[in-house]
């Protein structure tokens, strides 16, 4: 026993180091999977408030770019407005139809903190559970998919962006409909890769990649990027497709969060099948 205590005393620095290092690793690897606590992320109110102050200072740097982008979106919307159409058939009556029901609702948000140079990049946005944001919701802009909500607090949320190791958004090639998963290798924030496309299909450069839909997160057809290069993987009947992200994550400031009204219904049904 005395030997044991002497041993502990002799090696106490090493033991403390190993213990603390173990805690650090445990925090790191458990956060990647399940964000249990929000106090140590930028979703918590203290960090969120500090970052909001900083964003108030720096958000004007990209103002002109963002104005141009909003103008473009406005024009697109304006073209769908009835005032920009000439009625071709007079006398038709507009009725409220019951054929279409809203499935997706979009909540606008501003990014207050973001990185693009790390291995796993997270964005913090200025809305949280009080605005109806929940873990697992999709986030996108008009140019492309951004990521999935990873963690929320009352007024802030953290997005796990496309620039992370494992995001698992299912995407497909527009036109042929061949689908795969989105991945990022950690090197270039403009280039992502698509896995799981079998190499008996001809994939052309500049093919558009869009979301596949049906994964309960994104509606079908939200742009992701365009194919940049196609190479074969050695020993596997699959293509290694590299594509350019539609959204430039280095400049991104305003995003939309997707709320899926039919999520519960679909999940219940799928759980019944699994049981």
């Amino acid at each position: 026993m005395r030997n044991f205590i002497a041993f502990i005393k002799h090696f106490q620095v090493y033991l403390v180091f190993a213990l603390l290092q173990g805690v650090a690793f445990w925090l790191y690897f458990s956060f990647n999977q399940f964000p249990k606590t929000q106090y140590f992320t930028t979703a918590s109110s203290l960090q969120g408030t500090v970052l909001t102050y900083r964003n108030d200072l720096t958000k004007h740097f990209n103002l002109s770019d963002n104005n141009l982008r909003l103008q473009k979106e406005n024009i697109e919307l304006l073209q769908k407005n009835p005032i920009s159409f000439i009625p071709m058939q007079n006398g038709l009556v507009k009725i409220n139809d019951t054929l279409n029901q809203t499935q997706f609702e979009y909540i606008p948000a501003t990014i207050i903190n973001s990185t693009y140079d790390k291995r796993d990049n997270y964005f913090t946005i200025n809305i949280g559970s009080s605005q109806g944001v929940e873990r697992g919701m999709g986030v996108f802009t008009m140019n492309g998919v951004v990521g999935i909500i990873h963690n929320t607090s009352e007024h802030f949320s953290v997005i796990k962006s496309c620039l992370t190791k494992k995001l698992n958004i299912s995407i497909m090639l527009e036109g042929t409909g061949e689908f795969g998963f989105l991945e990022w290798n950690g090197e270039n924030p403009r280039i992502g890769s698509m896995t799981g496309v079998s190499n008996d299909l001809l994939v052309e450069k500049n093919t558009k990649i869009v979301t596949r839909g049906g994964d309960k997160v994104f509606p079908k057809g939200i742009p992701v990027g365009t194919v940049d290069s196609v190479a074969s993987i050695e020993g596997k009947p699959l293509w290694d497709i590299q594509f350019v992200f539609g959204e430039d994550f280095r400049k991104i400031q305003n995003v939309y969060v997707i709320k899926n009204f039919l999520l519960d219904e679909q999940e219940n049904l799928e759980n019944q099948v699994l049981e």
Binding site: Q12, V13, V16, F17, L20, Q21, V23, A24, F25, W26, L27, Y28, F29, F31, Y39, F40, T41, T42, S44, Q47, V50, L51, R54, T58, T115, Y116, D117, K118, R119, D120, Y122, T124, V158, G186, E187, R250
Partner: protein, 169 residues
């Protein structure tokens, strides 16, 4: 008492310089500037190793809280704090080492600082990037990140010391 206030100030200043300023500078090529180890390095040499480890754990956790890395910076700074006395002893020089003197570049000289802090910073950065990537196929990329980032971090550390540290008489 004065030293206490000084160190708390350094803690806060380096924390905010790191998370609000340097974390946003993203040059490309995987460069990431990290100067916060300077806080641990400037702590007095006579400080006990176990409180030092706990302090660096807490400091790393604060950095992590603002960077969404959640344990990564903590792990790297713990290694830094653990190896600090080891590297010190490695470059120990009987003639010009006085334990009461404050450790910084002005008191210790450029060469000494380059050897000791350079080595520690390299280990810190390499550990950080390696755990972040955690892929043996990408060791080359990890080295690229480390070798490009360390000189930049190092230069900013020197700059900070010349600006904010006084020479001891």
């Amino acid at each position: 008492m004065n030293g206490m206030i000084l160190n708390i100030t350094r803690f806060v200043v380096l924390l905010f310089v790191q998370v609000l300023l340097l974390n946003q500078i993203e040059i490309g090529f995987g460069i990431q500037i990290m100067v916060y180890p300077l806080f641990i390095f400037l702590l007095p040499m006579k400080m006990n190793r176990i409180p030092l480890l706990f302090l660096s754990f807490f400091f790393g956790l604060s950095i992590d809280a603002f960077s969404n890395t959640y344990g990564l910076h903590t792990s790297a700074i713990l290694l830094f704090a653990f190896l600090k006395p080891v590297i010190f002893n490695l470059f120990y020089n009987q003639d010009d080492f006085d334990p009461s003197i404050e450790i910084n570049i002005l008191n210790m000289g450029m060469m000494w600082f380059l050897k000791v802090f350079g080595t520690l910073l390299f280990i810190h950065h390499f550990w950080f990037f390696f755990i972040e990537m955690l892929d043996l196929n990408k060791v080359g990329f990890v080295f690229q990140k480390t070798l490009l980032s360390v000189p930049l971090s190092f230069m900013i550390c020197i700059l900070l010391q010349y600006l904010f540290v006084k020479k001891q008489k």
